[in-house]
C-alpha cells in the first residue's frame, strides 16, 4: 500500500510542478488589456454591440461591464479568442445584437446617388469618397461592411454585397473526418 501512496504522492508532485511551470510559462500578461481586446475585435465599428465602436466595447469588456458575446461581425471565432484571452467560458453569440453574416461591402448605385454626403458622414472609416452634389463611391478595400451608411441614405441607393470567392481569397477547406463514410 505504501507503494501506491508513494506513487500518488510522486504523481501529484510532478503534476503540480508541471502545472506551476505551465502557469509561469503561459501566463497572460494582464496589463494593456483594452488594447488586446481591441486587437481581437474586428474593427467594423458598426456599433451593433451597443457601444459606439470597437474600442468602447473593448473598454467595457475590460471593465467587466459587457459580455464577450455581443459582437456579430467578430462571430464565434472572435468570441473564442476573447474567451481564451480573458480565461472565460465560451458562449454563443447573443442574439440581441444581431447575427453573424457573410462578409459584405457596401456598393453605391451611382445612377441613383444624389450626392447628399450623408453616407460620408456616417461612415466610421471614411471609406466613401465624393463631394457634395456629386456621385459617391465606396472604396471597396476600406469598407468594413458596418452597414452604417445604409440608413442615412435618403434614396436607398446603397446595398450590401457579399464578397465573392475568388482565387485570391479562396481557402482550403477543413478536411472531412468521417470514419463511418470511409469505412
Amino acid at each position: 500500500m505504501l507503494e501506491a501512496l508513494l506513487v500518488m504522492a510522486l504523481g501529484s508532485v510532478i503534476l503540480g510542478g508541471a502545472l506551476g511551470y505551465a502557469s509561469v510559462k503561459f501566463r497572460v500578461e494582464g496589463d494593456p488589456l483594452v488594447e488586446k481586446i481591441d486587437a481581437i475585435l474586428p474593427q467594423t465599428q458598426c456599433g451593433q454591440c451597443g457601444f459606439p465602436g470597437c474600442k468602447p466595447y473593448a473598454e467595457a469588456i475590460a471593465r467587466g461591464e459587457a459580455d464577450i458575446n455581443c459582437c456579430p461581425p467578430g462571430g464565434e471565432d472572435g468570441i473564442h479568442k476573447l474567451a481564451d484571452l480573458l480565461g472565460r467560458e465560451f458562449k454563443p453569440l447573443s442574439g440581441e445584437h444581431g447575427i453573424e453574416k457573410p462578409k459584405s461591402i457596401a456598393v453605391i448605385d451611382e445612377q441613383t446617388c444624389i450626392g447628399c454626403t450623408l453616407c460620408i458622414q456616417a461612415c466610421p472609416v471614411d471609406a466613401i469618397v465624393g463631394a457634395a452634389k456629386q456621385m459617391h463611391t465606396v472604396i471597396a478595400s476600406q469598407c468594413t461592411g458596418c452597414e452604417l451608411c445604409l440608413a442615412p441614405c435618403p434614396v436607398n441607393c446603397i446595398a450590401m454585397v457579399p464578397i465573392p470567392e475568388t482565387i485570391d481569397n479562396w481557402k482550403w477547406k477543413y478536411p472531412v473526418f468521417d470514419v463511418r463514410k470511409a469505412a
Binding site: M1, L2, E3, A4, L6, V7, L10, G11, I14, L15, A18, Y21, V179, R180, A182, A183
Partner: protein, 337 residues
Amino acid sequence: MPSNSPFLRQPASVQSVMLKVLVALLPGIAMYVWFFGWAVLIQISLASVTALAAEAAMLAARRKPVRHFLTDGSALVTAWLIALSLPSIVPWWLTVLAVLIAIVVAKHLYGGLGQNPFNPAMVAFAAMIVAYPQFMSQWPAAGATDLATQINAIFGQRQLDAMVMATPLDTLRTALHTSGLNATVESVLANKTTYGFLGGKGWELVALGYLIGGLWLVQQRVITWQIPAAFIVAFGGIAGLTHLIDSAQFAGAGFHLFSGGAMLGAFFIATDPVSASTTPRGKLIYAAGIALIDWVIRVYGAYPDGIAFSTLLMNICVPLIDKSTQPPVFGHKEKRP
C-alpha cells in the same frame, strides 16, 4: 483515392502495425509455454475474447463504427500484454477484470484509440496489484506445467501449493529485506534451480524471447531503437553500477534485465506509441525514466516488480518531456525551439 495530395499511400495500416506486435510476442510466449505450461495461452485467449467484447461494446456505446475499429488489433495487443504480465495462474475473473479496466476505463473513457494518456495494460496491472496482491504474487513454478492443475487454478478450486512459486525477483527481495538472514545476492542466486543463469530459471529464456521479438520489431520499424536502448542501458547501468559498489546488496545488470517484466517493458510496454514520448530525445528520457523508477521499486519498494507503476509515472510526464525535447526543425538547428 484521396481527394488531395499525396495520392500515393504506403500500404501500412494500424492493423498491420498491431499484427506485427502480436507476432513479435510469439517467441516469448513460446518460451513461456515451454517452461510454465499452457496456462498462459488460456489467459491470452480469455483476455482476447474479453478485450474484443469490451471494445465492441464500448465502440457501440460511443457510436463509433464497430467493425472498423475492432479490426485494428489494438485491443488484442492490450489483452496479450495484460495476459503476459499477470501471473499465468490467476483466477479467470481477475484477467477478465483487468482487461475490462484496461479497455473500458483506461482506453475508452479517455477517448479511445490514440487518446489514452496512460498505457491501458499497465493501468490494469497496477489496479490488480493494488487490489489483489495475494493473487498477483502467485507465479507458476518453472516446470510445473501440468495442464489439469493449471486449469483448476484458473477456473476452479485453487490448490496451489505444489505449483506456486514466488518469482526470482520476489524471493531475492524478500531474502534481502528480511533482516537477520544475512543473505547476500550471491548466496541467494547461487540456487541455480530457482535462478537459472541470469534472471531466474525459465524467466530468462522468456525474456530472451521478448528480446528477439523486440529486435525484430525494431528491424521492422514498428518501434524505434531509442526506447528499448535507453531502457536497457539505464536499467543495466544502474543495476551494474550498484552491483559494483555493493555486490552483496544489489543484483547485477543481467539478473535485472532478464527477470520480471524488464524485457517485455523495454520492447512492448514502454514502446506503446500512444502513451509514450514521441521525440527522439524524449524517448530516451522517457525510457530511462521508466527503467530507473522500476529499479528503485524493485530494490526498495514493496512490490517485486514496478514496471507498471514506473510506466504510468512516466506517462504523466510525457507532455512535459515532449514539449521540452522538440527536435530542431530543418534550418533552425542552431537555436532549439
